[in-house]
């Protein structure tokens, strides 16, 4: 009660003496600034022994008043939540290729890093679609956050002296893993989804092992910096920052890591403004791309996505390899076409004979590693029907090969689970009409929840092996 009264009295006094105090405060602020200048001069004098080179190595070079440990910690927290999701969905996507089966591993080597592999399920059918949609769209969304985070810590690149102790030297060296890793992964991923293959390496190899380098850097960074991040987050209140306009935006308190600049300029944007801009950029990038993963009418909203609005023509569905690119010619798919199915015996079937076999129609999604996907009604012969035809009751694997002569995914090995799933099929029709050439006419496999490239197009050979 007394406290309340005191507080009330205090508030009344403050309001009464407001104008006078404002002037006093201004004087105090100027004094503080003068003090700061003196302190800076003193520091500079002390540091004369270790003279910084000019330019960015000088503490006075960096002026933004928004840099500080709170901002860095907040952006770090967002990345700490988001980047592991991207990493895990990426590793799951690798597992989806069933790399332990013959010929499926695009990235041989490093067996210890494949400890997590498991036989990829076929249920639920949308699992790969969601996995890759999240991987790619979240990757796009986090790019502005990554850039903002790097901006917030960039002065530390120029800290002087560059090495103070072996520990600090090693720690700086370890930053190559996380900074180089995140930039490398984002660059290769973003270029790959646009088919811009300028890199002098296999995308799969580089993106997977680059990810492991990044994961190593991330884990050690979290181990070393997590307490500092939490302390940084506690140093200011997010809710309060979101209510602070430009006029009241103050530099953060100086911190031992020197994330706050020594000589902050007056702000030109509030912390709230910056966070809204970064968050808005993230959401907009994602919003302009996510339609390619959801499909349907939302595909038209994907202005900036490789299979968005451009691929949304009525009746058209996106593809990742055209018949022309695969060098499939009409002679191969015409009356001369034969599908050779091998098991305990070998049968050779024309497309007419395939059409005469028992058919079923299933609505299944097809999802590309590049993040886009669609759902369609596929009609064709169940793979279990083909295994019966060649005398195999318990299939172990199936090697599916394409008419295509070259290309990294001209064949795929399917697991026992994928072959025996009743929905898996050799599709002949898409949405009620014959497969278009680009979608794999005369026949293609459709496997629930498998990566798009494992739904082999222009199939002319299937070899089943039996479980022992």
């Amino acid at each position: 009660m007394i406290g309340c009264l005191n507080m009330a009295r205090g508030t009344a006094a403050q309001i009464a003496a407001g104008a006078v105090r404002g002037a006093q405060r201004a004087a105090a602020w100027s004094a503080h600034r003068a003090d700061a200048a003196v302190r800076r001069a003193a520091v500079a004098a002390r540091g004369a022994a270790v003279r910084q080179p000019p330019g960015p190595f000088q503490p006075g070079f960096w002026r933004s008043p928004l840099r500080g440990r709170w901002l860095t910690s907040l952006l770090g927290l967002v990345l700490l939540v988001g980047l592991p999701v991207i990493a895990i969905t990426g590793l799951l996507s690798y597992a989806a290729y069933n790399p332990r089966l013959h010929g499926n591993d695009e990235t041989p080597g490093a067996p210890l890093l494949k400890f997590f592999l498991f036989s990829w399920p076929t249920h639920p059918a949308w699992v790969y679609r969601v996995d890759q949609g999240v991987h790619v769209t979240l990757g796009l969304a986090l790019l502005p956050v990554v850039l903002a985070k790097l901006w917030s810590v960039l002065p530390k690149l120029f800290s002087w002296p560059p090495v103070r102790s072996p520990a600090q030297a090693l720690e700086r060296l370890s930053l190559i893993m996380i900074v180089g890793g995140v930039l490398f992964e984002f660059a290769t991923g973003i270029l790959n989804i646009q088919d811009f293959y300028v890199f002098p390496f296999s995308f799969y190899t580089a993106h997977l092992y680059g990810a492991w380098v990044f994961i190593a850097g991330l884990v050690v960074q979290v181990a070393l910096k997590f307490p500092k991040m939490m302390a940084g987050l506690r140093s200011r209140s997010l809710r309060r920052e979101l209510r602070t306009p430009l006029a009241a935006t103050q530099p953060e308190a100086p911190d031992p890591e020197r994330l706050r600049t020594a000589d902050p300029a007056p702000p030109t944007v509030s912390r709230r403004g910056m966070l809204v801009a970064v968050g808005g950029a993230s959401l907009t990038l994602a919003a302009l791309a996510i339609g390619q993963s959801i499909g349907g009418w939302t595909r038209r909203t994907a202005l900036f996505a490789p299979r968005g609005l451009s691929a949304a023509a009525p009746g058209a569905l996106p593809v990742n390899r055209t018949a022309a690119a695969a060098r499939i010619v009409a002679a191969d798919t015409g009356p001369a076409y034969r599908l050779v199915v091998t098991g305990r015996r070998t049968v050779s079937l024309t497309r007419h004979q395939l059409m005469a076999l028992p058919q079923h129609t299933v609505v299944l999604p097809l999802a590309c590693v590049e993040g886009w996907s669609y759902s369609a009604a596929w009609t064709g012969v169940p793979l279990t029907e083909l295994t019966r035809l060649v005398g195999i009751t318990q299939p172990a694997t199936a090697l599916v090969e394409s008419l295509e002569q070259a290309g990294s995914f001209r064949s795929a090995t399917l697991s026992a689970g994928q072959v025996s799933d009743p929905r898996s099929m050799l599709a002949l029709c898409l949405n009620g009409v014959d497969l278009p050439p680009d979608h794999g006419y005369p026949a293609r496999t459709i496997i629930p929840a498998a990566p798009g490239v494992h739904n082999t197009k222009w199939v002319n050979n299937i070899t089943f092996t039996a479980a022992q």
């Binding site: 201004a26 600034r33 580089a206 680059g210 190593a216 006029a247």
Partner: protein, 249 residues
């Protein structure tokens, strides 16, 4: 019973002492706890193991070059470029102050309301450049051939879409700048006529919203800053100011 336990305890203590002396020595030389070194070595080992697979695949040259170029490209190319662009824009636009910041909203000497334009340019320009940074192979048609072979689609529309989105962003920004100018001039008018001078002062509200004659007499941003600090209890993380003594204490 007690004697072996005691000797065990002594042995453990002396071992502890030896270990801690050793760890102090390591810490003095190394500059951090030994655990720090172990964590870093483990991370380097993991990264090295992953890189070995890249070496085995005969792709390490391109991989290493791209890894390093990614860092240099961001830290020493992209960052300086966008910083320079931002700095140039700030210097060229009106409202630049000698201290290195834009002027605060408030009536200028001419009496016209002033709203710094910088953020109304930064946001659309920044977003347009971000879109270009992400989608430049499609926007500039650099991957036109491979994209067409893969998808059967052409890259032409992306440039037009980018120009359209950029145009819309700048248009929206211009509209919101016009609205901000209008708000500022309305505020300045209210301030001159003093209609709201007697309104209750809520310490939480923004100075612009209270209708106080803030804009009129708080021209110097330092002064306003100090004043706002008093009225809004935003004390966490602020530079410590010497508190003026209260009269009568």
């Amino acid at each position: 019973m007690s004697s072996p336990r005691g000797s065990l305890g002594a042995a453990a203590r002396s071992l502890n002492a030896a270990v801690s002396a050793r760890s102090r020595a390591v810490r003095a030389w190394y500059g951090a706890r030994p655990l720090h070194l172990l964590a870093l070595l483990a991370a380097f080992a993991l990264a090295g193991y992953a890189l070995r697979a890249v070496v085995v695949a005969h792709q390490w040259r391109g991989f290493a070059v791209w890894f390093i170029v990614a860092i240099i490209g961001h830290d020493l190319l992209l960052f300086p470029l966008y910083s320079l662009a931002d700095l140039s824009a700030r210097r060229l636009l009106p409202g630049w102050t000698a201290r290195g910041g834009a002027a605060r909203p408030g009536p200028a000497a001419s009496g016209q309301p002033q709203v710094p334009v910088i953020n109304y340019i930064r946001v659309p320009a920044g977003f347009a450049l971000l879109l270009l940074l992400v989608w430049f192979p499609l926007i500039l048609g650099l991957s036109a051939t491979t994209y067409q072979r893969a998808s059967g689609l052409v890259t032409d529309p992306y440039l037009w879409r980018w120009l359209a989105v950029t145009g819309v962003m700048f248009a929206l920004s211009a509209v919101s700048y016009a609205l901000a100018l209008r708000r500022a001039s309305a505020r300045a008018r209210r301030g001159r006529h003093g209609r709201y001078r007697k309104r209750r002062q809520n310490p939480r509200t923004r100075p612009g919203r209270t209708g106080r004659p803030a804009a009129a007499w708080l021209r110097d941003h330092d002064l306003r800053r100090a004043d706002f600090r008093w009225q809004s209890k935003l004390r966490s993380g602020l530079p410590r100011l010497p508190r003026p003594r209260r009269a009568g204490r």
